[in-house]
């Protein structure tokens, strides 16, 4: 009590309350950050071999078939890591896969992708979200357009010369992506699609069934 006045109108009381509330909120945030850091740490190749699910799997996940399916338990879609499949015609060792992902992420930043696209929903809104782009049924059409045998080949060709394969009036510009960079970006995108995003985006490309028949939920 300052001079017998009510604490209610005391500056000191509110100053202290503000400090306590701020401190408490910050402490809680830091605590939660530690927990989250543990949960979103990139998994290892061993986890993958043993079938341990990680929110962010190891880079070697690019050696596996990826799907995005409804989970009854979770109440939304989750990435499903399937059997092994070749990626650009080979299996990538943990070291190679790590280097490839590193180059891919660097290229995504260097080419300023997020000022047109969104990644995990964050970025600009001038072009489609890339979160599950690896699973996009559109690549089938691009495979035909680019005369490619595999999806990754089509993606890499498209990324190097997007101006040659227009699908809409709004075209992606040529960003001078080299063949190695394109391969790395495709690896980044494949890895990105395996991140557990709590079901975002919901029902990915479900309406595309109207565009083409058959396939699983995601493709």
């Amino acid at each position: 009590m300052e001079n017998g006045q009510s604490v209610w109108t005391s500056i000191r009381f509110w100053r202290r309350s503000a400090a306590w509330v701020t401190g408490f909120a910050s402490a809680l945030l830091i605590l939660l950050t530690f927990d989250t850091m543990g949960q979103i740490k990139m998994g290892t190749d061993e986890d993958l071999q043993k079938g341990i699910t990680k929110r962010v799997p190891a880079p070697t996940v690019i050696n596996h078939h990826i799907d995005y399916k409804y989970s009854k338990k979770r109440g939304h879609e989750v990435p499903v890591i399937g059997d092994k499949e070749p990626f650009f015609g080979k299996e990538w060792s943990p070291k190679e896969a790590r280097a490839l992902l590193h180059k891919g992420k660097l290229t995504v930043q260097a080419k300023n992708c997020i000022n047109c696209h969104t990644i995990l929903g964050n970025g600009a809104y001038y072009a489609p979200d890339l979160t599950k782009s690896w699973l996009d049924p559109k690549w089938k059409q691009l495979m035909a357009m680019t005369n490619s045998k595999t999806k990754e080949e089509a993606m890499a060709k498209f990324l190097q010369h997007p101006e040659k394969y227009p699908t809409h009036a709004r075209r992606m510009p040529n960003l001078k992506i080299t063949p190695e960079e394109a391969q790395a970006v495709v690896a980044f995108l494949k890895h990105l699609s395996t991140i557990d995003t709590n079901g975002f985006p919901r029902g990915f490309s479900k309406g595309v069934k109207e565009f083409e028949a058959g396939g699983t939920y995601a493709h």
Partner: protein
Amino acid sequence: MLTSIKSHKLQYEGQKLGMMYFRVALVLFGAQLLMGLIAAYQFINPDFLYGIFDFNVARMVHINALVVWLLYAMIGSVYMMTPEETGQEVVGVGLGKLAFWVLTLAVAVVVVVYIFIQIGPGKESTIWLINEGREYIEAPRWADIGIVVVVLIFYFNIFATYMKGERTGIMTVMVADLLALAGLYLAGVFYTDNVSMDQYWWWWVVHLWVEATWEVFVGTLAGFALLKVIKAKREIIEMWLWIEVLMLFGSGILGLGHHYFWIGTPEYWWEIGALFSALEPVPLVAMFVHVIYDWGKEQGAHGGSPVINNGPTMAWVTINAFGNFLGAGIWGFFHTLPQVNVYTHGTQFTAAHGHLAFFGAYASVLIGMFYYGIQKAYGIEKLKATFNSKMAIVLITFGVIGMTVALTIAGYEQVLVERAELGAGWDPYFTAQALPWMKQAMAWRMIMGVVTFVGFVYLFIDLLTIGKKEANN
């Protein structure tokens, strides 16, 4: 041209430095709007400057110029208020001026590189020299380091002055808030291959700036402005400020959770994010009610002739209270709950919210500070709004609200068609973009952007001339 804004009547060198920051802020504000117009036009005509000055470049400069002009205006405002609050000349003001020129040179180089080099190869060198490719904080690493050094000098100026002079409550909040604001920038200065980790810390900078420390910053600034412009009682402002800090940090810090719904982070962020983002409008409602109260008291106390000694500043601070509630409050809240956000995340809704919130919460009050600076710089007792000031207020406010409404309609259509019906992806995205609702919304956004820009021209002319005009009256 900008030197026609004089600062000779200012008694403190620190305030003259503040005016230097204001001049650059004004130019960057103009650059932001021009880049916005280019990007807006590319939505309508995607061939415009295709392959020469692509959307990603225009958009990057648009949002970077925004962040940098707001920061310049914020630093300028702090240099304006510090000598008045502490009764002291700013300590080390010479160093501060050097830092200003270093920072301005760095900003100029970064912008030139953005515009002419644009992108680099997928190597570390690009991150260091050209652009970091992370939204809002694209500045390359060398510039990051420069920014940290300059901010340290700025903080030394302010902190040393604070320690030397009178330590008012307003200055205490300011000094503490600036420390948090500057420190948070460091959370954005690192590279990782893990994109979830990347975005986790990226939000520490972006969210804890615009939804926590910047909010407290403008609260402090608005308190200072009310102190000066309507001669409000210091104790009342101070106490009110602490309550505001309590509410803003109490809701804003953990409100961070609403950005952690979908980036790979655990599910408990749904509950935390939903709870605290529901609380985030509370301080905004409180501020809004407080403005009504102050207005009412003013009416009662002076029989309808209030003692406002700076018309334009008061008008912009009032727009701030409403704009903050509308833009950050309503436009933030209606798409934030996780049940809805899974559909609205990453759509034009975010752009609508961004436009109104950045304008309502930040641009408005900082424009108010420009006028406060002019008033002081010309030693004007009572600064009255001119025709140009009024045109600027009307056109900019109308333009921004218009853009927001247009983008909201675009966002609604995008949510329905692309997200709810088709479920995101390449074809769903372009299907939604091609519908007339989206196209017309984008045309209206362009028109309203032009209105905003015309308002800016009035503002620019007004700021260059109002001082001389009013000082002669």
